[in-house]
């Protein structure tokens, strides 16, 4: 398979994952503004920060309003991480690697693009937001379903999966990093309604507010929330889960190609670190420092994969 094809698949799935995560962030932000008394437009500042586009937003808009923030996140094509931009880039990559995709996967991607282009062609009315967010998540789910149901389990599959999990690990760690201060034991006042709402909004951004309750007996505790999103291998958006998957997909590639790269060692090291560590170690190191370091190593792995499998050269 061509290096460019591996690259196209990798990025196609990174962009689709990102589109879905941005939609989740908007959903969580919306939820906050609906349920919390005294919420203000300023709350969207944190959402934009989690999406990594706060500065870019500020260069386009002078004031922070909910409507502008939502529009910027969902449909502004000058924002490369808006849902529309991600879907556009995801589909462009899919077109480029079209011969590598099953017809079902391609059609699900193309139909996602067709529907969202239509849906996001003008500003979304507040009343239609929940429905629009739902469509984004559903369409992304259909792509995933078609992909899982029809693609051969070969190198194509593994590159696609690696793209998904590198992106997801990046997104989850950014969400945590923006809110790390509310998870620090020193400043949080256990049981205060302000903290409860902050924590719930973190969990909601990764669609984990229900599952958290099941796993940790319904008790909101900052260290448990951090544990869930960082170290819990059963949580499909946790860093540990993402690295379980990345390592196993890289392993399949190693078996198929009979060739091991630097990326294999890097991924194994990160996985071992996540497996061995306890949440108190993480907190001792400093949550923010831990996450910053993780994001860098995740990026480094991405670069090593593109080099090892000749994505560009």
């Amino acid at each position: 398979m061509l290096g460019r094809t591996a690259n196209g698949l990798y990025w196609m799935f990174r962009y689709i994952e990102r589109a879905e995560n941005i939609a989740r962030l908007v959903d969580a932000g919306l939820r906050v503004s609906l349920t919390r008394a005294g919420s203000s437009d300023e709350d969207w500042d944190g959402v934009l920060q989690s999406a990594g586009v706060r500065d870019a937003y500020a260069s386009v808009h002078d004031t922070m309003t909910a409507a502008n923030a939502i529009d910027y996140l969902l449909r502004d094509t000058s924002n490369p991480s808006s849902v529309m931009s991600c879907i556009e880039s995801g589909r462009n990559n899919a077109r480029m690697v079209r011969t590598a995709l099953t017809r079902e996967t391609w059609e699900a991607t193309n139909e996602c693009w067709i529907e969202l282009k239509q849906l996001l062609s003008r500003k979304v009315k507040a009343a239609d937001l929940p429905e629009v967010i739902d469509v984004i998540k559903r369409r992304a789910g259909l792509i995933r379903g078609a992909f899982h149901g029809s693609m051969l389990r070969n190198d194509l599959y593994n590159f696609s999966r690696i793209g998904t999990f590198i992106e997801r690990a990046d997104n989850t760690s950014r969400i945590l990093d923006v809110k790390y201060y509310v998870l620090l034991p020193a400043v949080s006042q256990v049981g205060s309604s302000l903290d409860n709402f902050q924590w719930e909004s973190i969990l909601r951004s990764v669609s984990a507010h229900r599952s958290y309750g099941w796993v940790y007996d319904g008790e909101y505790k900052p260290s448990s929330i951090a544990d869930f999103l960082i170290l819990n291998v059963r949580m499909p958006r946790s860093l540990a889960y993402c690295y379980e998957k990345i390592v196993s997909n890289l392993h399949y590639l190693e078996e198929e190609y009979g060739e091991r790269h630097k990326a294999h060692d890097t991924a194994a090291t990160i996985k071992a670190m996540l497996k061995r560590g306890s949440i108190s170690d993480v907190m001792d190191q400093g949550l923010h420092e831990f996450l910053e370091d993780f994001i860098n190593r995740n990026n480094q792995l991405s670069a090593e994969i593109s080099e090892g499998y000749r994505f560009y050269r």
């Binding site: 398979m1 061509l2 290096g3 460019r4 591996a6 462009n92 077109r95 480029m96 079209r98 011969t99 017809r103 391609w106 059609e107 193309n110 139909e111 067709i114 190198d155 590159f159 190609y257 060739e259 499998y309 000749r310 050269r313």
Partner: protein, 464 residues
Amino acid sequence: MLTADNSPRPPYQTYQEWYASQDPAHLIQKSRDAENIFRKTGITFAVYGHADSSEKLIPFDIIPRIIAAREWRRLAQGIEQRVLALNAFLDDIYHKQEIIRAGRIPRELIEKNVAFLPEMIGFKPPGGVYTHIVGTDIVRTGEDQFYVLEDNARTPSGVSYMLENRETMMQMFPELFSQNKVQRVEDYPYLLRQSLASLAPPGCKGRPRVAVLTPGIYNSAYYEHSFLADTMGVELVEGSDLRVIDGKVKMRTTRGYEAIDVLYRRVDDDYLDPLTFRPDSALGIPGIMDVYRSGNITIANAPGTGICDDKAIYSYMPEIVEFYTGRKALLENVPTWRCSEAASLKYVLEHLEELVVKEVHGSGGYGMLVGPTASKKERADFAEKLKARPSNYIAQPTLSLSTVPILVNKGIAPRHVDLRPYVLVSDKVKIIPGGLTRVALKQGSLVVNSSQGGGTKDTWVLED
């Protein structure tokens, strides 16, 4: 579809009975279904210069164009003769140039032609084949009167539409294919791969590796490039994937560089090799022409075949066919005035309102004047361009093109069509029965190009 007395022409008989039994509203619905299939599958093309609508659907008409086996045989013979003549012509102009020495074609028309590549002089492509894939454009003006409009020996496009049109028709109207015995077109990708592989270069040991070269996803025919690679089961490569290593053209894979033996390129000559042709080309492969000349890759179609698409060369096709086959051309050329000749230019300028004037290197219906439908001002403007660069133009009479029925809201209506059959050349000539029928959707219009609002329909050649 109808004869003069309003009865269906013989090949349409069975279809006509079926059509009469259908509910018109249902057919309109089917027509929309077809559009959705095309949209969903992403069967689109790009129109250059339309920023907003970068991907468009080609309108598809659900009424097939039907050709009888007897009619087809005549056409096929004429096409085969023409394609063989084209290959002989190319071989000749890049070697002994006997046709020039015999005084049948002026030397400057060949040697001063921008599509003539001196780099090809004295080189014989693998198997002696220049035009691996040809798409001859044909129009009909009467029961037994066919004309060739263009030869399209460089890179004929549209074959994916031929195949998708058939696929869509079989999905929507399976019963029609049990009532009518329609000759198969579905084998095209298989035949194409076979044909390409059979012309592997002398340097190829073992099973030839074939690839399709595309300029990329922003090219107007990108869908077709990916479709052909996919249906042939070969890699779709871009220039940036390829590099010349150890005298071979190799593609960058996730496991390292692997050699390619046959390259079906959908990139123009100019862009193929920045070391030989345009140095600013980012689409090509530096050094591929050296690999080609040393017999380590086959390029299809061969560089330098584009000269056959020149409309001034076209005007000599009757001479060319006769010179190389020793027989009169079975298919006629449209009478053509070469504006480079003073007497012709005078005639053309005096008769602009009845002529179609085309650029000699033009394609896609761009830059032409359709005299009868143009405004007075358009004609006057065009006359100026003509006088400024006469050798850049040829002129032809407007033909009374045949019409076939299309489905409109009120039932069916006649529209003008042309036909592009696809021809594969290896050690034999294989013509796919049918081809792409392009139809002018506007009433009375003669322009069928998809870039100018034309549509397509499925084309049936019936079995005997």
